[in-house]
Symmetry: D2
Subunit: 351 residues, 4 copies
């Protein structure tokens, strides 16, 4: 016999419920046992039923979107912000300090106001606790937090794929990341170059040469692990799938500290041995995005190319789940003192 204390549920609002990030937050919250879904807001979609915009969320089909105002959002225990970059600051400022505010946007990720201005434009809103509990020391910072910045999707997989090697000092502080992404990371706003007709059967590069907004975030994360700036060459690719990022991350072995593939694998396995959502695969098995779709898992493998003198790690993540909404729910759990994995799964949807 098991006794469960049936406490009042946590009341949650989602601002930006018609987009991909907002929809994924809702998909996860619908199976979260401690949550009651409150207000759902939209911008131009306010007034429409959610069933017309997110037809996969059947239990919420008749819910009508409200405008994103402080009146609508106040009175909830938790507010998820899934708004366009630059819009979270103003909303958050109006929500009380006792409300847990979790920003799925970029507004509060970067510490350097100059980098913010360079990559996003406008004034820097500030810096919140960074929602990547798998980074050293970071989980503690998120427990009980009332403001959390969810990492970008590329930074999540890139950082976790390189962190053990960088932290262990087995690679030179110059890393290269080529990350193939599905298109949902680009959002639901209509753009010609993201049409199905353009995307299917097509792979393309964009934001090459350091132009992508996630570059400074990855640099910030990796540099924080060591006493020096890590040079990050980051190239994002669009490939024909809706969800998922596969990040190929490499760096020269540190001269004089060369490890072999087995040692590298052991370092990674140990680094994530107690992480519930980072799954270092058995040696020889390489990640695929399909294994993690819909889940909060990140699959990871590492090897050493002894001929080229280079460590290569490959990580796979669902950009909308662990890459955004799953991390957001994981952070909410930490903020509320719930079990970190409540409402989340490590099981992907395949085939």
């Amino acid at each position: 016999m098991r006794i469960v204390l049936h406490m009042a549920k946590v009341r949650v609002a989602v601002a930006g419920a018609s987009g991909y990030a907002g929809g994924e937050v809702l998909r996860l919250l619908l199976s979260h046992p401690e949550v009651e879904i409150g207000a759902l807001t939209g911008a131009s979609n306010a007034g429409q039923p959610l069933g017309a915009l997110q037809p996969h969320l059947v239990p919420l089909a008749d819910r009508v979107l409200e405008p994103t105002t402080i009146e609508v959002l106040s009175g909830h225990d938790v507010v998820f912000l899934a708004l366009p970059h630059g819009q979270s600051g103003e909303v958050a400022a109006q929500l009380g300090d006792d409300t847990v505010v979790i920003d799925c946007g970029a507004d509060f990720r970067l510490r350097d106001a100059g980098e913010w201005a360079k990559f996003y434009g406008g004034e820097h809103a500030g810096t919140w606790p960074y929602g990547l509990p798998e980074l050293p020391g970071q989980r503690q910072e998120l427990r009980g937090a009332r403001r959390i910045a969810v990492p970008g999707c590329y930074p999540t997989v890139s950082t976790l794929s390189l962190a053990p090697a960088v932290a262990a000092g087995i690679v030179e502080p110059r890393v290269s990341i080529v990350a193939a992404s599905g298109t949902s990371g680009a959002g639901k706003a209509a753009k010609s170059h993201l049409l199905g007709s353009e995307i299917m059967g097509n792979a393309s590069a964009y934001g090459v040469g350091g132009d992508h907004r996630h570059t400074p975030e990855i640099t910030q994360n990796l540099s924080a692990l060591v006493d020096e700036t890590v040079a990050v060459s980051f190239t994002p690719l669009l490939v024909p799938m809706s969800r998922g990022i596969l990040a190929t991350c490499s760096a020269d072995l540190r001269a004089g500290h060369e490890v072999d593939a087995e040692e590298a694998h052991a370092i990674y396995a140990q680094a994530y041995a107690h992480e519930p959502f980072v799954h270092v695969l058995p040696r020889g098995q390489w990640p695929q995005t399909k294994s993690v779709i819909g889940s909060n898992a990140l699959h990871l493998q590492v090897t050493v190319d002894e001929v080229a003198g280079r460590l290569v790690a490959v990580g796979a993540v669902d950009n909308l789940a662990k890459g955004t909404a799953g991390a957001a729910v994981q952070c909410m759990n930490l903020a509320l003192g719930l079990d970190e994995g409540t409402g989340l799964t490590t099981i992907g949807l395949a085939p």
Copy 2:
């Protein structure tokens, strides 16, 4: 405060755990609160860890497949059979009458031994209660059953998309079904024409003109609703997606009983008003497979083409979920007296 009696969990085995149907049964069982996963078996894959074959099922990654023998499968409360057609009969015959046996294959679906021999070859194994609880009177037959035949994926969506119209007598007993399917319905066995290179960017027809094995099953289902044989023209298509079936079903309006679109919609809405997994969409909104991927939901819409004098209904289902493994779990719940929806969801994975 809520008190939960923590009874012993139901112990479940899955025969054919390395294929798509078996993998999907496991994916669903892993989030089923009343189930404990027992033996997993394979044929040529016996001896391999499941993580190498189904890398998305992380919690079972270290489980090793056993051979499909009576020794391995006995001692479980429930056995799911996800075997090639024609292999279930022999296994089932050796399992005790108190074991719930749920066959995801075709062996026990058809009542007519001649049809079985024509479409599948070999001897007819028999007929089990048919696992489509949404058919009139069928749910009662499944409660407490110890042998259940899970319907084929095409028959599930085709039958439920046409049943209200056929049963209400508003269409002539000659129906046409064109069902566009993802490729996972064809299984995981390697075949050249199912290679990604062949499938992507390609739509094709097969089994045209009544040649597909699911034709007699659909005919059996629809004819049972009325006092006559319903003529079924069934054309399956392969389209470039892994999961999902979209079935376009039509029939001439019955002469003298013509309904309009609103009346047809009302008949459908009423027919499924109390069904937890059949979701008749609001008028004007048409189904898409993406809304039901990974879920046990079937989305449905119907209209009347007054110029052509024809009723057209379109249903969407995930062939592996409600089309196979979801139905199997739904049936298990009924057989065991659990809540029918335990471990299942109506929420699809989109985008």
Copy 3:
């Protein structure tokens, strides 16, 4: 030794060169030996180099789009109009009668002004010779024509897939068409529901119940073959591919005139025996869109379902090639007295 008279090339303009239809016209014209490409026009894209909009058309990369005006378009031997529906009439009216004007839009396809108004809105511009030379008597009408209306993509494949059966009187005059299409038929204008994220992994129905604009065009084509109105139930599907339509067309066998599969195939084979671009496959082989991508070929197969008493024909076509731009070039060849297949191919791009 062969002697070739090197005549002055035909000078061709393309209005709407930045869209999918215009781009495909250009792709074909670039390998047409008798053509010289003149003005290229766009609307909002005027002023941009074609290389930024159609990067696959390398030889035209530096060409700059001009506005769609009579000044720009005049002075060419042939003008292709690839404009939004409703815009061709005004442009065409200003072009001289000696200019060959080929409209890839819908403006001049329908004979019935009421149907035009119902499905497209606005005033009916008129009716031009219909650019489907494979219809009985139609080729003669196109030779030397100065105005040609290119058929819609769905009507092309639907009409040619059903015409032999309808004309031979072996089916009842009530046909059902379910046509799975790639997304390029919906054009290049940015719309959320056509984003890659929405389209990939998804099949959906739209325009069901006679709502699609191509329904009256198909009805017009088939009814013209016989002395009665053919009832057309037409359902278009969107499936995850850029190009291609697979049309599944069926009709009840005409009572008292039942043919079997072999007879049906013979009727089709004979009907298209001399057509260079219609390829009736050997019995038992079913069409796939991939075989015709990029080509002007239409692949076709037919059978009879004797149990259901229904003829089923399946046709595959590239919506942008034979379905639009290929037909346009084929019509231009006829209009100019060139060999009908000049610059066209029957060879698809696979895999």
Copy 4:
């Protein structure tokens, strides 16, 4: 008036006509004005009509595959070998020295017998002129050649994307290549992990850490440009498309010789200024595979990441066309003294 000498056509045989490489050679040869297609051979498919195996090659539908024997292949001016790796040597040895033999396999690409044995196994067959005319001095070697080894698909795009930078000495001799490929490069043999169900919606890495067979070929090519061994870190990815490779290539800027993006672009533009099939895009426009599908073009862009101190070049190629069969035809043209581009196009098939 133009006078054309109508010489006897070149008679060509294709060994391995049922596979992807052989099919693509035939697709190109069918539009080559100087070629007559002779014997077509297969292994297990001998005796079947080509129409059943390559339904897109309509003009050859009735051709029957013959066995791959010297009797069948002899008597042709040119023989293309599209055989599994390791099988070309024996066939080629039996063909006369006056026959042009073009091997699409790997047998004669590598100079180092040890590398061959390590990556392919078995005995090294020898080294033939390497069919990449865009490499310095290479075109001359191919003119009039009677044996030509067509490069691998990955090496073609990787080598040409890095060659100008390596040759100019503006990068350190340690390069990183991450190449996202469609699945047709893996061939038409049925393998479970290449099924459409596995591939769609999925990105994965394989052959990581120097394990892929194309690594030594890329190393051989780049090292030949300079007086030192270039260290090559090569990671291939499978992404959900049939055709195309997008290679992201990077290297640290050479210390003391740092160039900026404009200088790098100028070096690339100059290197390929006279190459008919290498298209360096205008600055700011990045390659996409769709622009080159079906064509012999390679699209290329380069930039410099000044923060990371790294040059990044991205190349796109159709693995079956310029990556295999297009290069083979280009080489045939050079061997026969024809115009290098005969029968080839720079125009891709998009969308």
